[in-house]
């Protein structure tokens, strides 16, 4: 069962990668549904049955019954099933202020080299000219207050930019020390950025660093889908493919209807190499 799968989607790849990081001894604040929630639910079924997560409505450690009805990722009986505690939004923010939230996991619209997140406007803010999105929602609290934040974005030039059009939620802002100068707690900030093609970390100057690539792309392909050049780690690793077991659980217990994973490109093992399937 734990053999590498021969076929999977690049969305499934991201979820499986993040799920492998998730551990029992930490508390996670999961932004909304989608990839962040699915990663945590997969980890709970694979390696971390006792991990606790919370969402913005102040639910603590639920055993969610997936799938949910459309948009019912919070304040619904299935999302909040068998929790340890039910709270409210201010309570969730209090816990994050206190330092209980070890990791935040966030899906992002646009992210930059310092891990700043834009979920407000693509293009110009002034005059309402740009394309407007919902606002930071709960992401600002997560990005400011979790000890470490894991960001997820698409590997596309327009989404992975040198400087986001609007900082909705803080990464390292403009470099070392900036978070503290703006009243955010010390020793916090973005920790990893995942795309369907790559994993990034940060060096001591808060610069985005390419650490690993998916087995179906090259470093040049990754760099070709970024608006700026990241720092390259001394050795860029190749991440391992999802296993059959992970995919079975993901497809039959978590994302049954393909709400989250039925997007992005399909990958297959051909002649001993992972590559994008011809579509």
């Amino acid at each position: 069962m734990s053999t590498p799968a021969e076929q999977f989607s690049e969305r499934e790849f991201v979820i499986c990668q993040i799920a492998r990081l998730v551990e029992d001894q930490y508390i996670y604040w999961v932004g909304g549904g989608g990839e962040p929630l699915n990663s945590v639910l997969l980890a709970k079924r694979m390696t971390a049955p006792n991990l606790q997560y919370l969402t913005e409505d102040g639910v603590i450690g639920p055993e969610a019954l997936v799938p949910f009805d459309p948009l019912m990722t919070m304040i619904s009986s299935r999302a909040n099933y068998r929790a340890l505690q039910w709270g409210t939004m201010n309570y969730a923010a209090d816990l994050a202020h206190l330092g209980y939230v070890d990791y935040g996991i966030l899906n992002t619209l646009q992210v930059d080299r310092f891990g700043n997140v834009n979920s407000t406007v693509v293009g110009k803010y002034a005059g309402g000219e740009g394309r407007r999105f919902g606002g930071p929602g709960g992401a600002d609290s997560i990005a400011a207050l979790a000890w470490r934040t894991i960001l997820i974005t698409d590997q596309q030039k327009r989404k992975f930019v040198d400087r986001v059009d609007f900082i909705s939620s803080p990464g390292f802002l403009d470099g070392p020390g900036a978070r503290e100068r703006h009243g955010l707690p010390p020793n916090t900030g973005p920790w990893r950025v995942y795309t369907p093609w790559a994993r990034f970390g940060y060096d001591k100057n808060c610069q985005l660093t390419l650490e690993a690539i998916a087995p179906y792309v090259s470093v040049d392909q990754v760099l070709g889908e970024m608006s700026f050049k990241p720092v390259l780690a001394a050795t860029v690793e190749v991440m391992e493919a999802p296993t059959d077991e992970e995919l079975l659980i993901l497809r039959t217990e978590i994302d049954v209807g393909g709400q989250v994973t039925d997007r992005g490109r399909w990958v297959e093992l051909k002649d001993g190499k992972y590559q994008f399937a011809q579509q």
Partner: protein, 323 residues
């Protein structure tokens, strides 16, 4: 206290002394029956130009029936507390009721974006948790509260937050201004005729919202006796004296869910989201607001018994929600 940096947005005046005086003079300190219809409650307690807060949203234990009634009564120039919301703000803006929004998270879509571009709707930037913190400050009778988020963002200068030097630690800390809305609408599982109210399950900010707001309408799935509250006082979420009107609203959150009572109606959710993304709520408003005169008629003619039975049937989880 040294102010390091401050946002430049317009904000609802902060006046804790004024609010104390309002509470003394206008809040119903005595237990009196406040049961009334949607129509009467909105007529009496929601006024043109009000700052309006609603708890949760149109899809999740929100006061959807009261939102529809406000649009039906054609309130004007409301200023909305837009946190944790998909379509409620867009409905109220497109319904011609609102022209200012403090934003934590709202569903935009082309229509509301156009209203912003044309200057018909002003927006101010916060986050969900900052808006609930503003309500918490308002509910504590304080002028502001500190938070350790939002500093350094581009939303900051478009908010009324301030970054100050904390007089105790000497470190920078963000302050949010207290929010005491003119009016609030909150949907709950159970209320008595006096306004004591219970929410079961998680929530956004129902208690703070009720205590911080001048005029409060609670809509309830069930009206229960006061004895119910006395049997289990720890489960009272909102005390009667914060509440001005109690409206019996079964399926008041339609098309949304009320945890433990009924599931959402996915078709109704998708219909509203579709209108949001198309940027045109005219058909939606015609069918769901203007075609009927009351919530009762709405349930009867637009929603229908079969759908309500189906929503109850699909909500299989009861643990934690039954009193």
């Amino acid at each position: 206290m040294r102010v390091i940096e401050e946002g430049k947005a317009e904000f609802l005046k902060v006046d804790p002394d004024g609010y104390r005086g309002y509470v003394r003079d206008n809040k119903p300190h005595q237990m009196v029956s406040k049961l009334m219809s949607h129509k009467d409650a909105v007529e009496r307690f929601i006024r043109d130009g009000d700052y309006l807060a609603y708890d949760c949203n149109y899809f999740q234990r929100g006061p959807s029936s009261l939102i529809r009634e406000i649009i039906r009564q054609n309130r004007k120039n409301l200023w909305l507390c837009g946190k944790f919301t998909y379509v409620a703000c867009a409905l109220l803006v497109e319904g011609g009721c609102a022209d200012r929004i403090d934003i934590g998270f709202i569903g935009f879509g082309p229509w509301i974006s156009r209203a912003v571009r044309e200057g018909k709707c002003k927006i101010y930037e916060y986050s969900n948790a900052l808006m609930t913190l503003r309500l918490k400050a308002g509910a504590m009778g304080l002028p502001f509260l500190p938070a350790r988020s939002f500093g350094g963002t581009d939303g900051f200068e478009r908010s009324a937050c301030k970054l100050v030097e904390d007089p105790y630690t000497k470190q920078p800390v963000l302050l949010v201004p207290a929010l005491n809305p003119d009016a609030a609408i909150i949907h709950v599982h159970q209320a008595d005729e006096f306004g004591n109210a219970r929410v079961f399950g998680t929530g956004i900010t129902h208690q703070e919202c009720a205590l911080a707001s001048k005029r409060v309408i609670v809509s309830a799935e069930e009206i229960v006796s006061t004895d119910e509250f006395r049997r289990d006082p720890a489960r009272t979420s909102i005390p009667h004296f914060a509440v001005d009107a109690v409206v019996h609203a079964p399926f008041g959150a339609f098309p949304g869910t009320v945890q433990g009572y009924y599931a959402s109606d996915p078709q109704g959710v998708v219909e509203a989201m579709g209108a949001l993304y198309r940027g045109d709520f005219r058909e939606y408003l015609k069918k769901h607001v203007y075609s009927v005169a009351s919530h009762e008629e709405y349930l009867d003619k637009v929603v229908g018994a079969a759908k309500m039975i189906e929503m109850r049937r699909r909500e299989t989880i009861r643990e934690g929600y039954v009193s």
